[in-house]
C-alpha cells in the first residue's frame, strides 16, 4: 500500500480517508472535520503500527512472538511489554466470559480473537490523542468510533445482513461507540467452542455494541460460542447491547438495544 494520504484524499469538507490491507483483512479510516499535520502523522504511525502488530501477533508467521510462544521457544516472561499486555488482556477476557472466550480453544495459543479489536481501538485512540475529534476505524467489520459523522451528528453504522448479501439488518448510531459482529457468513465456522474444541453453532450473526472495541469484540465472540445461552448472558453485561440474526432469518436483541439501533427490516 502507498503512504497514508496517497489513498486518503482530503475531501471538500476536510477530513481524511484511508484504506489499508493488513492482518489478512482491510482497515478503513474515516476522520471527519479539520485535519492537522499532527493527525496526518498519527494516521501514518497508526498504519505502521498495524503492520507491526501483525508481525508480532500473527499465528500465520512462523517468526512471530505468538508462534514462538506456541512452540515453547519463548516464555511469556521473556516477551515484550506489548505481548505481555495482550496475554494479560486475553486472560482477563477469558475470566470475564466464564471461559467462553479462550485464546487456546483450538489447542494452540491464538490471541487473534482479541488482537484485531485491540488494534482497531488503539488506532482510533491514537488519532484522537493527536487531535482528531471525529474518528471511525473499521477493521474487517469491527469498528471503534469517537465523536460523530459531523459536529453533533452521531455516526451511523449499518449491520450487514448475514443471509442477504448487500442488505442491512439494522442501523446503529452513537458518538463514542464500538460495534463488533461475529458470524459465519464470511469466514465459515471459525469460532471454536472452548468446551468441545469443535466449531461453535451460534446464530447467523451476532452484533454487540459497547463503548470500547477490545471487550465489545471479545463479548461478541464469546456470546457466539455460547450458543443458546448467549441472550441471557448478554442481557447481564452492563454497558453492552446485542442483536442476533438466526439461521432462519429471525432475530432477537437485548432489552437495551433499541437505544442504539433500529432494525431495517423486521424479522423475515
Amino acid at each position: 500500500m502507498s503512504e497514508p494520504g496517497g489513498t486518503g484524499p482530503v475531501s471538500e469538507r476536510g477530513g481524511l480517508r484511508h484504506v489499508e490491507h493488513v492482518m489478512g483483512t482491510v482497515f478503513s479510516f474515516d476522520v471527519r472535520g479539520p485535519v492537522t499535520a499532527a493527525v496526518g502523522t498519527a494516521l501514518a504511525a497508526a498504519v505502521a503500527r498495524l503492520h507491526h502488530i501483525d508481525r508480532v501477533f500473527s499465528p500465520y508467521r512462523p517468526d512471530s512472538a505468538v508462534s514462538r510462544l506456541a512452540r515453547g521457544e519463548l516464555r511469556p516472561a521473556d516477551c515484550s511489554a506489548e505481548v505481555r499486555e495482550v496475554l494479560g488482556r486475553c486472560e482477563a477476557a477469558r475470566r470475564a466470559t466464564d471461559g467462553w472466550f479462550d485464546p487456546a480453544a483450538g489447542g494452540v495459543l491464538d490471541p487473534s480473537g482479541l488482537v484485531k479489536g485491540w488494534a482497531v481501538e488503539d488506532a482510533a485512540r491514537r488519532l484522537r490523542a493527536a487531535g482528531a475529534r471525529h474518528v471511525c476505524v473499521n477493521g474487517g467489520g469491527d469498528l471503534q468510533m469517537f465523536g460523530g459523522a459531523a459536529p453533533g451528528v452521531p455516526w451511523r453504522v449499518g449491520i450487514a445482513h448475514p443471509l442477504r448479501p448487500g442488505a442491512l439488518c439494522a442501523v446503529v448510531s452513537g458518538h463514542d461507540l464500538a460495534v463488533a459482529t461475529s458470524g459465519t457468513a464470511e469466514r465459515g465456522a471459525h469460532i471454536l467452542d472452548p468446551r468441545t474444541g469443535a466449531p461453535a453453532r451460534g446464530p447467523a450473526s451476532l452484533t454487540v455494541v459497547g463503548p470500547r472495541l477490545t471487550m465489545t469484540d471479545v463479548y461478541a465472540t464469546a456470546a457466539f460460542a455460547r450458543g443458546a445461552g448467549a441472550a441471557g448472558w448478554l442481557e447481564s453485561l452492563p454497558g453492552h447491547e446485542a442483536l442476533a440474526v438466526t439461521g432462519d432469518g429471525g432475530s432477537w436483541h437485548t432489552a437495551g438495544f433499541p437505544a442504539y439501533g433500529v432494525p431495517v427490516a423486521a424479522g423475515r
Partner: protein
Amino acid sequence: MRRAVLTTASTGALVVLLLSLKPHHPAGLPAAAPAPSPAGSRPSGGRPADGTYTGSPVPTRYGTVQVAATVKGGVLTAVKVLRVPSENGRDQEIAAYAVPRLTQEALSVHGAAIDAVSGASYTSAGYIRSLQSALDRAGV
C-alpha cells in the same frame, strides 16, 4: 409474503448492480460490466465524477433488470430503473410495488444515511464485495 421475498431477493441484486456502476470498480467485482457514460471529467482522487451511469442489463431469477444511477458531489442522488421483469401482469404488479422501495433502500444505503458497515469479519478478498468498500470508494 411473496412480495416480501421478491423485495428481499431483488434488493441484493440491485445493490450488486449499483456496486457495478462505480466507475473505479476493482477487477474482482461480478461480471456485470458497467458502461459508464459520465458527463464531465473524472477526478483523480477516486471520487466518482458527477453524471449518470448506465448499468448493463443483468439477468436475475425474476427477469432482466437494468438501472441508471446519478452521482452528484460523490453521492448517489438518484436511481432510475430502465428495465424490470415484465413478462406477465403479476410480475408487473410486483415490480410496480417493489422497485420504488428498492430504489429508496439503495439510496439510503449509498447516500449519506450510513457512514460505515459492521459485519462478520471479511478477508481482503471479501472486502471488495462489501458495502464498506462501496462507501470507501464513494468517499461519502
